[in-house]
């Protein structure tokens, strides 16, 4: 009888543990990277924001580049609402000068950090450019995936990042927390 109770209790704990694990949000550890000017940026620097948008981007990837104007517009639309935007370049073949020139050419007003040795891309599990992680001030991942559903802006049907940010700003749960980012594979050091 006692053994049965213990087994039942163990089963309940196991199930509860599994459910809890499934519900637990992925959390990003604080990190520090330099931007193309050599200035250090820690994730903690943005912890007063309502949301932090980490954008893995590239200078040479045609898909990432197709989103340049959309990223600029996103920044304009949400930066004033206390949403922080941080670009991250993890591509091994793209230099700091490449990143600087690219940012100036396309009018990026948000910082772009160089992720040498793709350390942060590895930690977050970023695979492609563009790929987005939206964090809360505690660095919990609220949304991960694409900016929207089409490389061609004229064919966009689902503006996933905007929908996620609007939900966060409204204090609501993000309905679709995960979409599949598409783009160029991040060129990693081997």
């Amino acid at each position: 009888m006692r053994h049965n109770m213990i087994r039942t209790l163990a089963a309940i704990l196991l199930i509860a543990g599994t459910v809890f694990q499934a519900e637990a949000k992925k959390k990003v550890e604080n990190f520090t990277l330099e931007d193309y000017s050599g200035k250090k940026h820690a994730l903690a620097d943005y912890s007063s924001s309502k949301a932090i948008v980490l954008m893995f981007i590239a200078t040479q990837c045609p898909v990432s580049n197709a989103y340049n104007d959309r990223m600029v517009q996103l920044y304009k639309d949400y930066a004033g609402k206390k949403v922080a935007f941080v670009g991250i370049n993890s591509n091994k073949q793209e230099s700091v000068d490449d990143i600087k020139n690219h940012a100036k050419e396309h009018g990026f007003e948000f910082p772009i950090l160089k992720d040498w040795n793709n350390t942060i891309a590895d930690k977050l599990g970023a695979s492609v450019t563009p790929e987005i992680f939206v964090l809360d001030k505690h660095f919990n991942v609220l949304y991960h995936g694409r900016i929207d559903d089409s490389r061609r802006e004229s064919e966009v049907a689902s503006r996933d990042l905007r929908v996620a940010l609007d939900a966060v700003l409204d204090g609501k749960k993000v309905a679709t927390e995960e979409t599949k980012a598409f783009g160029c594979s991040i060129k990693r050091v081997k």
Binding site: V63, V128, D149, R152, E155, K180, F182, C184, S185
Partner: protein, 187 residues
């Protein structure tokens, strides 16, 4: 122009013919590769639009052959870099035992301007399809739910259409060969 009208205009299959200049590649069994390109004959290449049912047909109509399905795009640099090794792998096996296909994630209106020139330039000896799904996510999930969609990606199916190996990221000839050989050996 409405996309569906555009696709209709492109027609369901765009076929082009050109001369292939490939030379026979050596195979593990030492026999000449049995591909039209390797034999130096004129051959026909087609780029076909492929929807969800088309994908299932490709996977399941195996006729006893192992399937090597490579997902790529002309905008994908690592895809471009691995293609010579994929072509070499395709030429290294008897086409009655191993079928290689490429699935491009380019747009349909880029077939003539980008996809076909790439096929010609690389003398690709296998069939190329162009994914036509409602969204890229639907295509990704149709291939493999746990795949994050990063390309290049190569999926190897056994003779019964069961996905056995996923090779995500840029591969080499040796890695392709190891994967294909493993699936050929499987029951």
């Amino acid at each position: 122009m409405n996309r569906s009208i555009l696709y209709s205009a492109i027609v369901f299959s765009i076929a082009i013919s050109f001369f292939a200049f490939g030379q026979p590649s050596s195979r593990p069994d030492g026999k000449p590769a049995n591909t039209p390109a390797a034999e130096g004959r004129e051959r026909s290449f087609s780029v076909q639009l492929m929807n969800a049912s088309g994908l299932q047909n490709i996977i399941h109509q195996r006729h006893g052959k192992v399937l090597v399905m490579n997902v790529w795009a002309t905008w994908c640099l690592p895809c471009m870099e691995e293609f010579p090794d994929l072509v070499k792998s395709a030429s290294a096996y008897d086409t009655s035992k191993v079928e290689v296909v490429g699935i491009s994630l380019d747009y349909a209106d880029e077939i003539e301007s980008k996809v076909i020139p790439f096929i010609k330039k690389n003398k690709i000896p296998f069939r190329i399809y162009l994914a036509q799904f409602d969204s890229q996510e639907k295509f990704i999930n149709s291939v493999k739910k746990s795949w994050n969609g990063a390309i290049p990606a190569t999926f190897i199916y056994d003779r019964h259409g069961k996905q056995k190996i996923s090779l995500i990221g840029e591969q080499t000839f040796d890695r392709f060969k190891a994967g294909i050989d493993a699936v050929l050996r499987s029951k």
